[in-house]
Point group: C2
Chain length 395, copies 2
């Protein structure tokens, strides 16, 4: 059996999204900046996609900018808020220790440019609080950036509460909603979000398309300079097929969100129950306040990479952290932020489900995983030390 359980890394393009893309390759292929009919037909598709994202996020079309992905949207959001802050002499930014590297590395770049960054600690359940944000606010704070749902452990942050704290303090609030968009309801007005990033390939849209929502009145700075596309704020011919696919996928994901949640949550919970029944195994992040498809556990005494290879051998695609950092041998910065010791963080497994996964697949995962964990532990000298008491169990 083949089980793709790495939907947080990327998803298959849906039929709906592909059907929206196909006419844009060879029929409506004009450049939306062109005055002629082929160009204007492409411009109409682009406008319809923009309208759709705006409507689904409760924003207006002019607040929607298309980018090449979530990372670019994150970069542009942070740089825009930082530039605006710098103009007012405010150069302090608050974020968290478990953000995606698109946030953390951009913040590092901003630090080199004279900004000060406070990264909030992550409580053990993987949910930061609005109180933490409030306590970190300074008179020179220009931006708070807290992810909507964490990409590894799937925990959902109190975005509305943080939005309220920021709005009250007159500080811009950005949320990296790459993992949440299409999976959780997002209303930028109700949640008082000023800037939001999302990525199409996390909800069955194509790779290479992101959206940056920026509240009216927040001037964007260019990450890419050039032509006057996207009101001069994002140069480069718009990826019309990709954008149309992204919009169709988002529409479908939003439309069927409750249905998908109702389907996935019991599967997720069954998986969590089954895996945490394995001795010396711990769930990472709050059991309830998490994405409907996210399971993330640490198995003591084994290496995540070996686990992934054996799972792959059984047809299971999973991950130990985020795909974006999988080249690295370091343990996940998210799990370390959560307080897991290095040796525990190394034994992590993320299974991220989508509505394409079946109950039979969950049963299969629950059949193969205990067996693989047991096999790896039996081969592990560390496990031997743990079991014989020469080394204390951490889980």
């Amino acid at each position: 059996m083949n089980v793709y359980a790495d939907n947080a890394a990327t998803t298959a393009v849906s039929k709906t999204a592909l059907e929206a893309m196909l006419p844009c390759f060879q029929e409506v292929y004009g450049n939306p900046s062109s005055l002629h009919s082929p160009g204007q037909r492409a411009a109409e598709k682009l406008a319809a996609a923009r309208d759709l994202f705006a409507r689904r996020l409760n924003a207006s079309p002019r607040e929607i900018t298309f980018t090449s992905g979530g990372s670019e949207a994150d970069n542009q959001a942070l740089r825009s808020a930082a530039a605006l802050g710098a103009r007012k002499g405010k150069k302090h930014i608050i974020s968290t220790k478990f953000e995606h590297h698109a946030i953390l590395h951009t913040l590092s770049a901003l630090e080199k440019e004279g900004f000060t960054v406070t990264l909030l600690d992550i409580p053990p359940e993987g949910v930061v609080t609005a109180e933490q944000v409030r306590a970190a606010l300074r008179t020179d704070t220009c931006l708070v950036s807290v992810m909507f749902a964490n990409n590894e452990i799937g925990t959902i942050q109190p975005i509305g509460e943080i939005g309220a704290v920021c709005r009250e303090a007159g500080v811009l609030f950005h949320t990296d909603a790459v993992q949440a968009a299409g999976h959780l309801p997002i209303d930028v007005e109700a949640l008082q979000i000023d800037l939001l990033s999302l990525s199409a390939h996390k909800f069955h849209g194509p790779k290479g398309v992101g959206v940056l929502y920026a509240r009216k009145g927040i001037p964007l700075v260019n990450v890419i300079y050039g032509g006057a596309q996207e009101r001069g704020k994002r140069a480069g011919t718009e990826n019309v097929p990709g954008i149309c696919g992204a919009a169709a996928a988002f529409d479908e994901a939003c439309e069927k969100m409750a249905e998908h949640q109702a389907y996935l949550t019991p599967l997720r919970d069954k998986l969590i129950a089954g895996l945490t029944a394995i001795p010396h195994t711990v769930l990472n992040g709050d059991a309830q306040r998490r994405l409907p498809g996210n399971v993330n556990v640490c198995f003591e005494g084994i290496e995540g990479e070996s686990l992934l290879l054996l799972l792959d051998d059984r047809g299971v695609a999973a991950s130990s952290g985020s795909a974006c950092t999988s080249g690295s041998l370091d343990p996940s910065h998210v799990l370390l932020a959560l307080g897991r010791p290095h040796e525990v963080a190394h034994g992590s497994l993320r299974l991220s489900l989508c509505e394409y996964n079946t109950p039979e697949e969950i049963d299969y995962l629950l059949a193969v995983l205990p067996e693989i964990v047991s096999y790896l532990r039996n081969m592990s000298p560390v496990w031997d030390e743990l079991e014989t008491g020469r080394r204390p169990h951490l889980i």
Copy 2:
């Protein structure tokens, strides 16, 4: 009859490119950074695409970075060379007055960051010389950026000669090859190019994919920060379907380049001959040293926009300048750089052909255009003044 004659703005995706993309949406859809088999299958496709671009450009795969398009590649090339120059105390950049705005606007941003920019004048035939570059070199010059072929008038620059001047002077040489790639032979070794940008949708590949070639040893700076994709130099999940389509399109374009040139050149020349036979009409740019599909003329006494609308009404998609600036009412900076007066530059028309255009379409263009020009001139008070001698003819 419908004639798409705006292939410099964008092209239809070829059958070959689409066939290369399709399996990547729902079959090989993994994240190439993932360790598991679905991810590794995507990684293999990505590697094959990288190898192909490297081979076709006479580069090595590690010198190829995939971006979201030509604009991003241009931005990253200039910023990387500038950062390298700054580290050596060299902050002077040479470019030309008729570059694409992805170059010009990035240079403006660099000027604000303390760089000095010399923009070379454009000789009347639209071809800058290596001598101009040599004369502009200073001891603190860190970069020369000259486009391979101009996006409006299609003139081909002496890239090999400029490359030799730069290499001799120890100055990095970047070329924006967005209009040239897939249409003209490019050998980065033979031409002594250090950095090169190209865009897939200009040669029947998909929108949203660009390539940055950077010679080994030139460290790239990030335009987009985040994950470790593209050796840490371009964050964001790779657009695998788009990249595969881009590679297939480039392979085909390179393979059939001589054939396409032989087909297009006579069509182009017939069009030029027919259009310049209209009184008070001038070809912009050298008649021979131009892209095989590019025709760009100025008709005195008419407005380019009216011309485009009437052409569109007859089924002809053409442009007056580049699509990237078509929102603007200013005359083309390229034609102004070429020395055309404002009133002449306003009456410009670019027809850009590709191998999909037929001889019948050329005949159709030559049938409708003189008629439309005549109609517009008869309606124009300016033309009346020109014809009655109250205003001198400029062409």
